[in-house]
């Protein structure tokens, strides 16, 4: 598996990362390097091993349905570039 320049531009756009045109070719090389390395892993025989997304042999911790947080609107919005009445204020995004 490898990516081409168009895919690199698309991934950058989807991730909202500004990628200057002269950075596209180096990025393509870097990503393909990573993909080639990951591809090597395909050589490992994993027959009989269940797919896993975590190597931690632990169960997912659960909490009870109790309200223990909130009422910190000031703190939550403290770093917002713009706020009003505890709302975050952002450039208009209406469709």
């Amino acid at each position: 598996m490898s990516v081409d320049k168009d895919t690199v531009r698309r991934i950058a756009k989807l991730a909202r990362i500004a990628l200057e045109e002269e950075r596209v070719a180096p990025m393509e090389r870097e990503l393909n390097g990573i993909l080639a390395w990951v591809e090597q892993l395909q050589e490992v025989n994993v027959e009989g091993v269940a797919p896993m997304t975590s190597v931690v042999a632990q169960k997912l911790k659960m909490r009870d349905d109790v309200v223990t947080d909130g009422n910190i609107a000031d703190a939550v919005t403290a770093n917002a570039p713009m706020r009003e009445d505890n709302f975050f204020v952002v450039p208009k995004v209406v469709e």
């Binding site: 989807l14 009870d64 109790v66 703190a75 919005t77 709302f87 204020v89 208009k92 209406v94």
Partner: protein, 502 residues
Amino acid sequence: MSQHASKTIKGETGDWEIVIGMEVHAQVLSKAKLFSGASTEFGAEPNSHVSFVDAAMPGMLPVINRFCVEQAVKTGLGLKAKINNRSVFDRKNYFYPDLPQGYQISQFKDPIVGEGEILLDMKDGETIRVGMEPLHLGQDAGTSLHDQHPDYSFVDLNRSGTALMEIVSKPHMRSSEEAAAFLKKLRAIVRYLGTCDGNMDEGSMRADVNVSVCKAGGYEKFRETGSFKHLGTRCEIKNVNSMRFVQMAVEYEARRQVEIIEGGGTIKQETRLYDSKQNETRSMRSKEEAHDYRYFPDPDLLPLELEQAWVDRIKASLPELPDEKKARFIKDFGISAYDAGVLVGEKELADFYEEMARGVDAKAAANWLNNEVLGRLNRDGLGITQSPVSAAANNAIIRMMGDNTISGKLAKDLLDIVWSEGGDPVQIVEQRGMKQVTDTSAIEKAVDAVIAANPDKVEEIKAKPKLAGWFVGQVMKQTGGKANPAAVNAVLKARLNLPGEG
């Protein structure tokens, strides 16, 4: 609304079939959010029910709310679906200001609930089986207000992180009426279960409707083969927020598609917005690459593993659901499938009916509820839980009607009195002398008085036995409506020498 919404549209080039699938987002009824301890309560001050987790502050980690998982399992069981004892949370990536994480934690490949089904009870007694796709448990987004400022949108994250069930049907509905019935039934099921409040006004239940049209016969082929190539291209209509709007949006959208195809055009797969004021659907500016969500397993969360014993305990605790209640009402109360379907449509209504029908003629109770109580509630714009006359009081009225203490006519008057003044129906009947007169001598006296006062009518009835009804009316008037109609008929028959039946 007795008219059936048609399953086909007559076009210039022949008949077209409508095919509908629904996607419903139902907020889980819980105190706290899915992955944080902030409150889920609706209508709070902006950003007051937000923790650092919900605001996606760096370094914050999600911890799952056990009760939300239980609610999703319950809902799955209510949809007769298999529960997957191992499920995985994935990140669905997209950017929007009311999604601070830049992704929604949801499920994709390994959801918590497998395929299920919902039965629709249609007006003509037909039952329609709608297949359900696997149910996903995930997070809701925040809300954006666009009308507060000309240049800015205002973002409130109170809803952000509330647990959400994504409940999707297969394209198994064929008319706007079935689509509305689906939403109604799903809402009833989650409300019976107590897993979602079903409040469409507050947005705790939101529906998107997928509509396509195909040439007559296409749907059958789709069901036989499972191949979507027999169906038309679908459009997704967003946020249709009432049963009525679902119906109107489907009708409009199907017609629009037929007109385009017959005009030589093709349907573009797109997202459209229903405008209830104009009654039309409009294309939403299609976001390029909007559907590339790049799902991947959320590294912050381990797989969700359930113990079978826990799932079994939840299953054992399920309440009686609408379908089971309907079957029981038909069997135990002997009422029609249609009546039973209407009664179980709302849990509160079914409960009201059951209390009302206790120890009295259950069919009479169903008719009384449908015709008298619901009619008056409708007139006054009230719900069943706001009924001014309790189920017990209605039970008392029906009981008195059943044992002939009061006539059917006076029972309605009595209901009106209790409706506006309150009080105990039995006492009111005593105090106001509303008891039916079955004493023959009193009725004979009234009949004789009417006969004596109307010799011309007595002459007339010899040729026209149908005039008996007029005499009954007069006698009722004399007795203030309290005479037992059967007794009046018997006395009249004897006095006027009327034929045996008629």
